[in-house]
């Protein structure tokens, strides 16, 4: 615990230091004017290293800057506003005490100093300082922890909506955001389209090249076709296995078909060799498209059923093609 004593009387400074040393307070710093105190506390030169102080004992009557003015000046410093100041005063005059407390003093003792009183006041001031310090430390830790927790939560939320393998949104994301777009479409009386596709002969691909290469193939297609979506509200999700679904808000069948075509072209451009495919020498996809202008009577599940059926038809008619679902 570091105590700074400010007093213009050398006799007073030395005896106080000696008393406090005797009682086990070892770090006692002495200055003989307010100006020296400001310098010691780093108030004059901000770049100068400050003396860390836990308590200040301040004489009231000093030439030049008196103790009350000095107290006021120190308390204006943000870093020192929790450092207790005990005023040492020769009289108990009401006005002077009031001025001292107003200036931010925590306590006062009167001269001639009663040592028992002095020590009791120092103890309680230091206890308060320690409590304030540890409370501030706890607050800082709590804020830090809350920030870390918040960041972790955000990361978890993000992760819980993403497919771990391909990095595109997952089925869970689809359920939530498709339901949202469905409601939007009803409210805005706008069309909504779905494109569902899967990779042709994917089992054969895995059997031929192994599962690691199979995973790689899924990643390439997911990222390439996700990039094929241009509008900000469009999104592609991994629906399950080698099946993906794209949601295209405010898009009619014509628009959806052109995106589906782009999907086929992009897949073709990837040129992922697939020697055991029954369709082509490269990996291909089969695509189903459905569009709707939903109203309150429409059912989202039957709309998803439609696009699923369209995809099935595309598979039935030889794969590597697009089929449309029934339009309402």
């Amino acid at each position: 615990m570091d105590i700074l004593i400010v007093d213009d009387s050398e006799d007073q400074l030395l005896v106080l230091k000696s008393i406090l040393n005797e009682k086990g307070y070892e770090s006692i710093h002495l200055v003989s004017s307010a100006e020296e105190a400001f310098d010691f506390l780093g108030l004059k030169d901000k770049k100068k290293k400050k003396g860390e102080i836990d308590l200040i004992l301040m004489d009231v009557i000093m030439p030049k800057t008196n103790g009350i003015e000095a107290c006021e000046r120190i308390k204006r410093e943000n870093a020192l506003k929790d450092t207790p100041i005990i005023m040492i005063t020769a009289n108990r005059e009401e006005a002077q005490l009031q001025a001292a407390f107003q200036a931010g003093a925590m306590d006062y003792i009167t001269k001639p100093i009663n040592i028992t009183e002095l020590l009791a006041r120092i103890r309680s001031a230091l206890r308060l300082k320690m409590e304030t310090d540890s409370r501030k430390e706890r607050e800082r830790e709590l804020t830090e922890m809350a920030e870390r927790l918040d960041a972790a939560n955000k990361k978890l939320t993000r992760m819980s909506y993403l497919d771990g393998l391909t990095g595109v949104p997952n089925r869970r994301y689809f359920e939530e955001f498709f339901a949202r777009e469905w409601k939007n479409a009803i409210r805005l009386n706008s069309p909504l389209s779905l494109i569902m596709f899967d990779i042709d002969c994917f089992k054969a691909y895995n059997d031929t090249y192994g599962h690691l290469n199979g995973d790689d193939c899924l990643k390439k297609i997911a990222s390439s076709l996700e990039n094929a979506l241009k509008r900000p509200r469009d999104f592609l999700c991994r629906y399950g296995g080698e099946e993906f679904i794209a949601v295209l808000p405010d898009t009619d069948k014509k628009g959806a078909l052109s995106v589906a075509k782009r999907f086929l072209e992009k897949t073709d451009k990837l040129k992922i060799v697939h020697k055991n495919s029954t369709v082509s020498k490269n990996v291909t996809i089969s695509v189903g498209v459905a569009a709707i202008n939903p109203d309150k009577k429409s059912k989202p599940t039957s709309f998803i059923g439609e696009v699923d059926k369209a995809l099935y038809e595309a598979k039935q008619s030889g794969r590597n093609c697009i089929k449309e679902g029934f339009t309402t």
């Binding site: 213009d8 005896v15 000696s18």
Partner: protein, 105 residues
């Protein structure tokens, strides 16, 4: 004060924390006396008041209640510019300093 008591020593119990500081403390009081005398000639009561004030503040804590008492009188008589009172107190202070016998706690 009677003639008889003047010759007697005044025992002052100095607390342990002040023992090493007492010689310097007493030397400072000798300086104070000289300064008060100088100030009296100049009628600089402000300085006398300040010196009295600091004697009052530090005497007891060193164990010298007499210095605190006399400091108090010097301070207040300087405030009322009572030269004779100051002179009396100064004489008493000299006498006090001559007669003290330090006893360790």
């Amino acid at each position: 004060m009677s003639e008889k008591t003047e010759r007697e020593k005044i025992k002052v119990t100095v607390p342990s924390y002040a023992i090493q500081l007492v010689p310097n403390f007493l030397k400072n009081r000798e300086k104070d006396i000289k300064e008060v005398e100088k100030s009296l000639k100049k009628e600089d009561f402000e300085t006398i008041q300040r010196l009295g004030h600091s004697m009052k503040g530090s005497g007891s804590i060193y164990g010298f209640d007499g210095i605190t008492e006399l400091g108090k009188i010097i301070e207040s008589s300087a405030k009322s510019k009572n030269t004779s009172e100051i002179k009396n107190s100064l004489a008493e202070l000299k006498d006090y300093l001559n007669r003290i016998e330090i006893v360790n706690e």
